[in-house]
Symmetry: C2
Subunit: 139 residues, 2 copies
């Protein structure tokens, strides 16, 4: 789930993530009407929480978000789940929410951190961060 | 998962929740060494995200947190999962993290909000908020 800040208030919402490892970013498709663009413009720091409660695997990704209106990228990210919200990728209300991770924490049970990863350096150099076992976390 | 704020940074972490509906609060046991007390003292607004990805049910609870050292309450909340972290409820490093919800959102699929509940009035009057279908969300 994606947690954003609106003033002092924190809110989470379920989102379908499209991970782009080579670009060191996580992408979401969002609707202009959701007002996430206003929120992340003022408070760009967000948190992505992935939980597989059955396997007791948890991942928290902290980073910064921006809303983009890149039509080519939207068509590239377009996939079956998006059809539930929009008829086609050319719907003008679709936006991209791009989250650039700055750090991540991974647990295989509540309370026990397996790894903590700082991604600032990777983000700057555009190299792929070493996510270790995180890649095994399913959403 | 519990998302807290530390300055501009947002972080999530898995926690075992103890819901106390009559008290209109969600309780967690936490360790003094986790430094959550410092964080929530400065930035009390937190977010609880509950996800049952299989059933596609999601719950976001926004509220304020405080750390308490109520030994009687700690003994009352003590349950089997806590034994993984502490030997017994008298461990002096155990603290209570109490989250008082101010609003909640509930989805039965990503993107479709079923209900939005403002709990401010309930919290003030100490009455039990009408959580509707939220009570059916399993962690």
């Amino acid at each position: 789930m994606l947690t954003t800040r609106n003033g002092d208030n924190l809110r989470a919402r379920p989102m379908s993530a499209y991970s782009a490892q080579l670009e060191n970013a996580v992408y979401f498709l969002t609707d202009l009407a959701s007002h996430k663009d206003d929120e992340v413009a003022r408070w760009p720091n967000v948190c992505l929480a992935f939980a597989d409660t059955k396997a007791q695997k948890y991942l928290s990704v902290s980073g910064t978000a921006e809303v983009q209106n890149d039509r080519e990228k939207i068509r590239e990210l377009w996939a079956t789940p998006a059809k539930a919200w929009w008829d086609n990728p050319d719907d003008p209300s679709i936006r991209i929410l791009k989250v650039t991770p700055s750090s991540a924490e991974y647990w295989d049970s509540p309370g026990t951190i397996i790894s903590y990863i700082k991604m600032a350096a990777a983000a700057v150099t555009n190299s792929k961060p070493d996510m270790g076992d995180n890649a095994e976390v399913t959403l």
